[in-house]
Amino acid sequence: MSRESTSKLPNLDRRDFAWFVDKGMQVFMFIGGISAIVFIIGIFVFITKEGLPFITDTMNFGEFFTSPRWRPTSENNPTYGALALIVGTASVTGFAMVVAVPFSLGAAIFIAEFATGRTREILKVLVEMLAAIPSVVWGFIGLSIMNPLIIDTFNVPVGLNVLNAGIILGLMAAPIMTTIAEDALKAVPDTYREAAEAMGATRWQIVWRVVLPAARNGLVAAVLLGVGRGFGETMAVLMASGHSINLPGGIFDSVRALTATIAAELGETVQGSDHYRALFTLGILLFIVTFVINLTADLVVRGVRKK
């Protein structure tokens, strides 16, 4: 009986066309799967290779992290202090989060918990469209619309400052954060809501006391990814922040971001010069910071899955 049935089956070990297609696809998928890892390692090796000679030969760690004097092209005494750039990036990103967190979490709660049917679909599409606006357009808005507006409204000397860049960056980070936060809220099982409702909770109480605590990890991840986005953004920050080496004392001071410094100066340096390598060192710093932020976000999301 069993012998008969096996003889009727096609020979699965035959190396026909389908077998080769199958193997081919397997290899292709494998390459696709590991390519992200290969690229990440490749990028890291590349920027480290370019930046390392500076770190080992010229760089003075104390100066790099504590001095605001970024003067790589000075004739008499080039100095490479990145403190103002680090503080600039941090202040713009920080302010952007102040703008983006309430907006995006509010939007996510509304879309996930309150909006229904058409409203919800339209809102989701609009939020995703917001993410599709190119960063140079955001920068242009900062430069030509926000700048005069801030000067007039607050009566300050320059409108290209932490406030301007922070608002622009906040609006840019908000769609990503909204999308991820909404996913996190959706992931909370409906049984939680039903149970709360059965206990007599109002809708507000359900959101505040049940859904938000249950989705906490996902929401933290959303915020962290927004921070990562802010750190890495270049063009809009370059245009809206004022690009001025400054330790900001308030939101009306111009600052300069790490990314913007690389973008503005790398194209003009001679390959292999100290300045060129110093810019790559800034790149290494940025890479490490964004890597840690994204890794943390990923781990936090994983945490939610284990529960």
Binding site: A36, F39, I40, I43, I47, R69, W70, R71, P72, T73, S74, E75, N76, N77, A84, N147, P148, I151, N155, V156, P157, V158, G159, L160, I176, T179, I180, D183, A184, A221, L225, G228, R229, G232, T234, G242, H243, S244, I245, N246, S254, I262, A264, E265, L266, G267, E268, T269, V270, Q271, G272, H275, G283, L286, F287, T290, N294, A297, D298, V301
Partner: protein
């Protein structure tokens, strides 16, 4: 979905960190001259390229701006035929070029008056070099318009907003050398990325002062007269005052080639230095290197 999104964003951020770097070159059917560098020169270089295309249709000149440092770096890296520069090459750059087997040769193609721009409503229209150094230089005491005893309409805080250029720009280097001497710039200036951006920013900012090529002047900004020192006369920047040397911050505009130019590049340079080419640079607001009759 959320894991995928996370992953996708990780990748995008990682790739976004890789700033575009690397040059390109290449020749098509017709001869292409790669010409790159100074923002100050980019407009006139473009005008030259367009006019030359009419005379010699088989030669195409590809003009890119980006700054003197960009052009010089590109020549050292061997990706352009002609580098435009609004400053001389530094000894360090020449040494580096030589070590890569490149022998830079300098051509003066015109002169530019580096104008000091102020807001149209700013009442202070005359500056000595010393005053500019007090505003821009490290340790300079002037931070506020009230230090000059003036009030600028629309600038209530009176704080001087210093508009400067990115630290590799030829304009930046020339201004530092001529106005600040061996000193460095004061930190905290707004370092814009282009000659035109400086003029635009000054136009929109009542508290601002900036420097940029004279050719970028518009009727919406104020142009300052500059004096060499307190005993010298204040001179208005113009083509005439740049040529006769009376305006203190005028500089030669340069082109660099790798060694003695040959073929199409040589013909192009000869044409730029001819009367026809020099008429174009004059029309663009710069001073020509030869006496131009008429116009």
């Amino acid at each position: 979905m959320s894991r995928d999104t996370v992953r996708r964003i990780v990748c995008i951020v990682a790739i976004g960190l890789l700033a575009a770097c690397g040059g390109r070159g290449g020749k098509g059917g017709r001869t292409i001259i790669q010409n790159k560098g100074s923002d100050t020169l980019v407009n006139v270089a473009q005008a030259w390229a367009e006019a030359y295309a009419k005379i010699k249709p088989d030669v195409a000149v590809a003009v890119t701006g980006g700054g003197s440092g960009t052009g010089i770096a590109a020549m050292i890296n061997g990706t352009v035929d002609i580098a435009n520069a609004s400053r001389k090459m530094k000894q360090k750059e020449i040494d580096l070029a030589k070590s890569k087997g490149i022998d830079p040769k300098e051509w003066v193609v015109g002169f530019d008056a580096l104008a000091v721009y102020i807001h149209k409503d700013n009442p202070k229209k005359k500056y000595t070099i010393k005053e500019l150094a007090d505003i821009y230089g490290e340790g300079g005491p002037v931070e506020s318009w009230s230090d000059f005893g003036i009030e600028v309409p629309g600038c209530d805080s009176a704080k001087i907003v210093r508009i400067s250029r990115q630290n590799n720009s030829g304009t930046y280097a020339y201004f530092r050398k001529t106005v600040l001497g061996k000193n460095d710039f004061k930190l905290g200036s707004n370092d814009l990325h282009g000659s035109k951006d400086v003029v635009d920013a000054v136009e929109k900012t009542p508290c601002a002062i900036g420097y940029s090529g004279l050719a970028y002047a518009t009727e919406h900004v104020g142009l300052a007269d500059v004096a060499k020192d307190a005993n010298s006369p204040y001179v208005t920047p113009s083509v005439t005052s740049a040529v006769d040397g009376s305006y203190p911050i005028a500089r030669p505009l340069l082109m660099y080639t790798n060694g003695e130019p040959k073929g199409a590049v040589k013909e192009y340079l000869d044409w730029i230095l001819s009367e026809e080419g020099q008429k174009i640079i004059k029309r663009k607001g710069y001073a020509p290197v030869i006496e131009i009759s008429g116009e």
